[in-house]
Amino acid sequence: MIVWALFTLFVAHVSGLGQSELYGDEFHEELLLKQLPSGHVYAHFQFTTLWENGGDQPNHHCHLFPQSLSEVLHLYNVDEMHLSLTGGLWRHENWGYPIVSAPPGAELWAWFKEGTEDVDKKWTLLSNALSGLFCASLNFINPQQSLNPKYSFAPLGAYDTPSRNRSLLRYSTLPREIVCTENLTPFKKLLPCDSKKGLSSLLSAGYIHNANYHSLGIHVRPQCKDVNCHETVLELRQTVSLVYDLIILGQESRDWSFRKLFGVGLAGSCPLASTSKIYVDCSTNGTSSVYTLTPDPTETINSNRGGYNTVFAVYDIKKTNIINMFSISSTHKGPRVYLLNSPPVLHATRYIVGYGQEHGGIVTKIHNNHWKDLDISLFENIPWFLPIYYHTLKISVNAGKQILKPYAKHYIPGRDRNRPYALELLVTLPPRSITEVYIEFDYSFLKWQEYPPDANHGFYVGAAVITSLLPHTKNYTGIPIDGSTFSSSINASRDTYPVTLHTEILLVTLPTPDFSMPYNVICLACTVVALAFGPLHNHTTKRLQMLDSCEESKGLLASLKLRLKSLLSKSSSEPEKSAPEQKREESKSKEPSQEGDPSCEQKIMKRKKTKGTAAAK
């Protein structure tokens, strides 16, 4: 009895102590649900792990932080790492800003620790390790495809030094990467509760990859431990962003529920999580549409941020008593109202102009809907097979009414098969304007083995990245740089709000050769060279001679025999004379020779005779 009591006391003590005190780490799981103005539903999962000792020693015992990832970060001296695997395109104009922006395909950027030697090698190893960890083709990232941006991708973590050495940054994208179940499973395995318990149990592959937009993100950075920021903790944020089109999901109504979105209900929170909360943005409730949420939220929060008010219905799963399965559903009342689209302050599109496969241009159109100037940095990442012409760069505002001069330019010309073209611009966008950044390029002709198996599908060009500081939070949902969880964005008013936009990726069809032709082409081209070689060889090694036309007409074998015979007789009779000299003498001599074929001679004599008689006549 006493033993039992002691045991329960011990268990209670351990659980009461909490993991955070013992191991210095904590785990938060959050889910934000938001009905977008276009009628889509945005679901953003965020799993945050904070680890106090992170980054101190290699081989540190991991508790909540995934061991595999921590080893990789240690081994390759990584300070900060951001990886996203995305399918679909985030439509800023209709959807506003996401919490974490990501381009279609895969994107990886990392800051290495100060003093890291051989960054390129570490970068290759890191991408290879991550490739194994997430079953993605990140191993195709090599230094030849990577860039070292000068203005964009500032470090997001907390560091001792105010400015960091830019050579420690590497950036690369794989726009062609397709994201699927095999990436989601290893992603879920990094979570403390896997997908057994907690919000991650809602991530079932079948439903996720049905979404219009789905993006997995891994973000690691050092973060301040407290407000004073004397110490840092290692922060790992694993995010899953999903945008569902309710019409595609089946029913014609605007109502959504866990069952409809994720296929399952929630069985409870992850026991290892410190907090487990679901936020539903109901700012639009009552204004544009009227809906009720069931069950009732634990609490309703008013978040006033940068002059814009947002209402969140918060469900604290830790506090909710879940008997069977937990599900949130919204039920709309009244007629469906289509809202006027009110696009965010800054958004951009990118496309290719021109026709044919010879010359083209890339246009990046950036909209500034603010009433004031807006400073942005634009980062263009063009692969080597689309050589761009820097001198054709034109930044025009409002359809050419004004030409902008960038505040700063940074251009690294590409090298064939070695380095992409990187162009960074710092531009001040005039108020209420559409700015067009135009640059010309040529279509390259590749070697036949450099084309992918489906050569006519085309080649992808990675997204351009626009970074800016927004003056207010219209359509803005991002987490402040000093916060780790979504809850820190509530009432988080700041002077400016950093935003990163990724534009569309481009698909370019390069001109193709005929893939079935290698042998023919090699043969034909060599034949042409031989056509030149033959006559030139003849011309330089042989002498022009008057030869007996009858001799020629006798055929190859006979002439060969004759030549052999003459050669033999010559060598026996006049050994001191060389053959060509003799031949020349022969041809020079005007008098008819004594040797030769008598029949042929007779023929010519006859001809001469007839000519002679004709002349006489």
Partner: protein, 463 residues
């Protein structure tokens, strides 16, 4: 009487050529011509020059990228041009072209004089019945004018000028080198040849005919006494066929020409290094020409061949093709046509224009316009019609199939490859035919027009 007439004729030609070019520059064809792959290659396109100059002015090393392939000396020249006379660039190009034409005229005049002299010297060896075949005053007067006309009104040269390619400047250097060659000016020849080599590498082969030509020009008149001073010093070293009483002079002269040329070339390279702040340009300019990384179609043989090449054979064929363009025919042709180095120079220009890695129509037009220097051998051409027809057909068909391939997407690369093959074959036929006709004329001058051999009908063949 002759001089003012020629002068008037020249003036008319220049005026007309100028107007024609100005008209083409201001017409809507300019953009089309400029973008043609046959005219603008990665080496010579003005768009890439502008790109390089912009990069240079913005403080970015143009040789760190893979767009710009002009030598640093050219870079400085073009950046000055763009900076100071940007508005008059077409006029600059047209005037360079007219200068080139005039230099070719002067070259032709000199060469005709030389041909006449040689004819006088060798007259006694000639057969008696060839009086009417010999060059006369009229030929001497007319042929230079033909050369100018063939240059200034050559459609290929017209396209080249209107597209503002850097080949205009290369051609100017080449024409100057030819003029110095005909004049026997060693330092001028070496200077212009090294400039041309600096720009496009392949003219380096012309130093061989250049050296031979300078050798002829500096040949001492009292040859016998000269050779007596150095008895048999070089006689032993040289092969028997090359031994002559002037061996000493020849060796000295050729060494001097090579020495001056390579000194100039190396100092130009060092100047380039100084101007661009490093040796990076070597890879960007000459590495690009030799390794052929850009497989954009042109009129040459390289692009499709190396597009379709198996990767492990690439280096082998790269060597084979570059040797074919540079050194394969150099020695045999130099030995064979050593008596007429200008012909040798023209032949080598033609061969490199055909077989170089990034040929353009400007190169082809240049050696085509040299051909009227030998218009006295035209009657002996056997394939004139075939070649002319092939030139016309390929010139029309090339842009057509290009459009079908790149824009209409209804044809494929093989079509354009076929046309470029046909164009190359036409050029090969022309060149070999010219060489054969030249030898044939020499033969006939010495042996008479009769085709009777030992009283029988003979046939002229290479055997």
């Amino acid at each position: 009487m002759g001089v003012p007439e020629a002068f008037r004729s020249l003036l008319i030609q220049y005026g007309f050529a100028f107007i024609l070019r100005i008209w083409l520059y201001s017409s809507e064809f300019k953009a089309t011509i400029t973008e043609r792959v046959e005219v603008s290659t990665p080496i010579n396109s003005w768009k890439r020059v502008t790109e390089g100059v912009t990069l240079y002015n913005d403080g970015i090393n143009p040789y760190s990228g893979d767009v710009f392939h002009v030598s640093p000396v050219g870079l400085i020249l073009y950046s000055k041009l763009i900076e100071h006379v940007a508005a008059y660039l077409p006029v600059v190009f047209i005037i360079m072209d007219l200068f080139t034409g005039h230099l070719l005229y002067l070259t032709a005049v000199e060469y005709m004089k030389h041909l006449m002299c040689r004819q006088e010297e060798e007259k006694k060896e000639y057969s008696e019945e060839v009086k009417e075949l010999m060059l006369n005053e009229k030929d001497v007067r007319k042929q230079p004018l033909y050369v100018v006309a063939a240059y200034l009104f050559n459609p290929y040269i017209l396209f080249n000028t209107v597209a503002q390619t850097t080949t205009v400047f290369s051609n100017f250097c080449l024409a100057s080198a030819f003029f110095c060659m005909a004049k026997g000016n060693r330092s001028g020849l070496c200077l212009f040849l090294s400039l041309a080599t600096l720009q496009s590498l392949y003219p380096i082969v012309l130093i061989v005919p250049g050296a031979i030509c300078i050798g002829y020009h500096t040949l001492p008149t009292n040859a016998k006494s000269e050779s007596a001073d150095h008895p048999d010093l070089f006689q032993k070293i040289l092969p028997r066929a090359l031994r002559s009483p002037n061996s000493a002079h020849w060796v000295k002269s050729i060494f001097a020409t090579f020495g001056v040329f390579f000194t100039m070339l190396i100092s130009l390279l060092f100047l380039s290094c100084h101007l661009s702040g490093g040796w990076e340009f070597l890879h960007s300019v000459y590495g690009f020409m030799l390794l052929v990384p850009d497989l954009r179609p042109n009129i040459g043989l390289f692009w499709y061949f190396f597009t379709e090449m198996f990767e492990h054979f690439r280096l082998l064929y790269l060597w084979a093709f570059q040797m074919n363009a540079l050194v394969l025919y150099l020695l045999p042709l130099a030995l064979r046509t050593r008596k007429d180095p200008v012909l040798l120079a023209a032949t080598l220009t033609g061969i490199t224009a055909m077989f170089k890695s990034y040929p353009s129509l400007g190169d082809v037009g240049f050696y085509l316009s040299l051909l009227p220097l030998w218009s006295h051998i035209f009657p002996y051409l056997q394939q004139g019609f075939v070649v002319l027809a092939a030139f016309i057909i390929t010139s029309v068909l090339g842009p057509t199939v290009w459009h079908l391939w790149i824009y209409a997407r209804s044809a494929n690369a093989n079509f354009y490859f076929g046309v470029s093959l046909a164009f190359a074959i036409a050029q090969i036929f022309l060149l070999t035919d010219v060489l054969l006709s030249y030898t044939k004329r020499e033969f006939i001058l010495r042996h008479g027009t009769s085709n009777l051999l030992n009283g029988k009908h003979g046939k002229l063949v290479l055997a």
